[in-house]
Symmetry: C2
Subunit: 197 residues, 2 copies
Amino acid sequence: MKVYIEPIGKLINEFSKLPGVGAKTAQRFAYKIINMTDSEAKDFADAIVNVKSKVKYCSICGNYAEEDVCDVCKSRSSDTICVVKEPKDVIAIEKLNEYNGVYHVLHGTISPLDGIGPNDINIKGLLKRISESDVKEVIMATNPDVEGEATAMYITGLIKPLGVKVSRLAHGIPVGTDLEYADEVSLARAFVDRKIL
Amino acid sequence: MKVYIEPIGKLINEFSKLPGVGAKTAQRFAYKIINMTDSEAKDFADAIVNVKSKVKYCSICGNYAEEDVCDVCKSRSSDTICVVKEPKDVIAIEKLNEYNGVYHVLHGTISPLDGIGPNDINIKGLLKRISESDVKEVIMATNPDVEGEATAMYITGLIKPLGVKVSRLAHGIPVGTDLEYADEVSLARAFVDRKIL
């Protein structure tokens, strides 16, 4: 005899596809859904379907958008372009309320080991934007890992000859950390990139 | 400017209703959905809707069922009834593959502080089952907390005069624990309920 009746087993199976969700957690989630009202469960299901049908990619920057062009590209000056790996990086930066320029989402980073070359990510779109409008600065905000650094270097090599200022997010020790506990690589970078006061 | 576009914000909001899911986790779940194929997302949404429309409660035992009577009540002898608080307790016991009788789900425990009295949980159904069929033993498997104990006591008081054997799950130190780390209440119960070898 199977332990779960079929609709419950199926829902648990779906929930366990989510990142970091194991069998026990998926079971808890399923019970939560069972104990929701019909309309709450329907709203939940609708939110999933809608996110697939309504979310597109901005034709300019590649970020998530409800229309052809995203709100950021519509409303801000394109003087400065911040280049990121994924749409979620845009959200992380937007949450700061610090940056007022536009973005360019690469949808990946160069990673020869995974067979991802420069033509597999959205670099062409970036070059096109730079050639077509008056961009003053490009901020490379790819992750500070091997692939992110390599991608930033590669793109810098393409953009610099066009006379555009290219910058990279600062690396160093995180604010609030004890030097004692800072990782060695970050500490070393903090020394190299030290600021004259 | 809002950080998330509306369909994504809505989905994150839905996910954060799940137990133990905060803003960051809900965001991760939402990204996972966005990166699913349309049909995968549809399957997910359907599983949620189906669990609400297809899952009913067994008219005999109160467990989850797809039809009017659950598979357990249909296929097993009702000599022994195991009384539990919630349908998920049935699943926990079924996973053991140890118990071969039927269940009775109370859908709650007596808890005067929360305003839940004996008439608010499914005790009447249990008495009816006992009076109508030849039940030999009732196993009280409510949780070993104050409400669970009180409920077990209360039901025992009602059933015992009917001449039915009533038992309670054994309490004691969990298998595999060091005595040193066992909680005091369980250790005390293990002494009181010690078994003659």
